[in-house]
């Protein structure tokens, strides 16, 4: 059994605004708006560049933000991916 690989949902149109380090995401397909944490911004931008598994995304996010890979970060990324999938922003893709 292999891990799920996550990528941007087909046809997803995302727009961003950033003020003083705070990021707001607009998902044009649903017309919903979300405020993202620094971890969420980094992870989503990494997924937009290239599909990744949970574990890979944790590693890449930690590297980008220069933070440790630890259990809280893994939980954050797991929850984030679950939420983004539910919102129709990402989907499982072929590895």
């Amino acid at each position: 059994m292999h891990e799920t690989v996550w990528g941007l949902a087909a046809g997803a149109r995302l727009h961003w605004r950033e003020w003083e380090g705070e990021v707001v995401l607009f998902h044009e397909n649903s017309a919903n708006i979300h405020q993202l944490s620094p971890v969420a911004v980094t992870a989503l931008r990494l997924l937009m560049d290239e599909p990744a598994t949970n574990a890979t995304l944790v590693q890449k996010t930690a590297s980008c933000l220069d933070i440790d890979v630890d259990a809280p970060l893994q939980d954050d990324i797991d929850q984030l991916l679950s939420q983004l999938r539910r919102l129709g922003i990402i989907q499982a893709v072929q590895p």
């Binding site: 003020w19 003083e20 705070e22 990021v23 707001v24 607009f26 017309a31 708006i33």
Partner: protein
Amino acid sequence: MIVSDLSTAGVSRRLGKGQLFLRTGPFISRIQTSIASIQSGIALLYAGFPVYDDAPFADFHVALERPPNLRRWFRPQVTFKFDGWAPFKPLPLNQAFAMFEWGMNWCVVNHAHRYLVLHAAVVERNGCAMIMPAPPGSGKSTLCAALVSSGWRLLSDELAVISLATAGLVPLPRPVGLKNQSIHVIHQRYPDATIGKAAHDTTKGTVAHMQPPAESIARQQEEARPAWVLFPKYTPGHALELQRYSKAQSLLKLVENAFNFTVLGKQAFDCLGQVIDDSDCFTLEYSSLDEAVSQLNALEIPAPCA
């Protein structure tokens, strides 16, 4: 021609025949009613607004009527109609003018999708607009009435109308809705203010409307640049507290207060993003209107609007 150029009988006659075309901001409304309290309310509170006997186009065709049912004899009511259709249940006749005002808001909110429309008051000074979104009970309209009675220009008491093309604030200066104690407060502070007849026992309590300042009406075609987004909150006994507020959070709150954000989609997101780019954002908690007005008069104008 403005409404006050007509006699009260002239206003009533035109309204009775549906021949009164009233300009408020960018909209022309054709209004028909034989209800005396609305006729006198329009003659008084819209006295300075442009009016036409005929117009090639009206944005909204509205009528306020007494429904022809048995209630008309023992508990008279009023119905608001838009293009001959009644979007709301009738209200007691003593609330007729308030229903007219609420109905006019409904027309803009549901049909003016060439603009982004927010639930917010908007006032202006030196060409710079302050957008004040706030939930009911936060003292938004009272603060708005105090500001426009202290030299700020009224763009709108209830609906912020934003141009999608320019992100500028489009004036829609209609009578300022006052509720409950704020009617007395504004009457006491500004005895020269013209306030219409109060309607009691509405869903919002006692409601009355204040005539907009003449200058606000005269300049109702003049857009203003966004400069401040202010979230006011009236708290009795609270010391004045003005605090900077996160721009990202401000954007989320503006979206919460937008009527047609999902209709307009990315255009609305871009437009509100521009508004937030250009604005300084604050929360204001206050109990003294004098202190609040004085504090807002002293706000520095942000660079994009300067």
